[in-house]
Amino acid sequence: MKTALPRLSLVLEPELSSALKDLAEAVARFGEANGLSEAQIHNLSLALDELATNTISYGFADADRQELRVELRIEADQVVAQLDDSGIAFNPFEEVSEPDLHASIDDRPIGGLGVFLTRTLFPNPDYQRIDGYNRITLRAPVKGDS
């Protein structure tokens, strides 16, 4: 019997390798407990990976504290993923430009894709700066296995 897990909160290490591993495990555990489809678990995992990778790689460079916390929860018919970090104030959805999806191999710049993938998988992401923390909230209608 699977136990329902309506809310999962997790502190991530400010080190990429262990953070991504813990994040992937947490999303899988939360997704399976709530009967989310494999595709939805993958999308949550990817979007949170992209955001956490950016925070750990860039956001913490000049930050006094390196705190990163993820919360996953079910709200009515929505799955909500929230990422809080103590990095420098940065709204990736305003400050990262859209990649040119139709450029050729030669013209296509290396990078800039993570934020775009996140926004495509979770349209209308929310960003807030609260008491020294960046908070990003992603929402999507719950998609089950069947």
């Binding site: 390798s17 991504l20 591993k21 990778t53 450029a103 993938l117």
Partner: protein, 116 residues
């Protein structure tokens, strides 16, 4: 790397074509060693590079970046990269990012080798 994901990599050759079969997750923590391996193989080979995704369960933009870099390197030498055997959710990431327009993706390894 001790606590993180590990990306295993095996290689085979088919004539001039090098076939790479990575296994595991390609993310921000495994992309660097993956990039090093691919660039070494490109430097040491002379034909196309086939990357077989059969045993890849996950790829993030960090992995896409490595493939783009490899494609640029190969193209500069008149060679190409051919990908194959992707799971649906991985193929979707290539589609969303526009990479399926610029990189050749085939259903099976043999198709990829034939196209290489």
């Amino acid at each position: 790397m001790a606590t993180g994901s590990v990306l295993d990599l095996t290689t085979e050759t088919e004539g001039d074509t090098t076939v790479v079969i990575p296994a595991g997750r390609i993310d921000g923590s495994t992309a660097s060693p993956f990039q090093e391996s691919l660039l070494k193989l490109i430097e040491g080979g002379k034909g196309s590079l086939v990357v077989d995704f059969e045993n890849i369960e996950y790829i993030s933009s960090a992995g896409l970046r490595v493939l783009l870099l490899a494609a640029k390197q190969l193209q500069a030498g008149g060679r190409k990269i051919v990908l194959c055997a992707m799971r649906d959710h991985i193929a979707e990431v290539f589609k969303i990012s526009g990479f399926s327009e610029i990189l050749a993706i085939h259903p099976t390894r043999q198709d990829a080798i034939d196209a290489g």
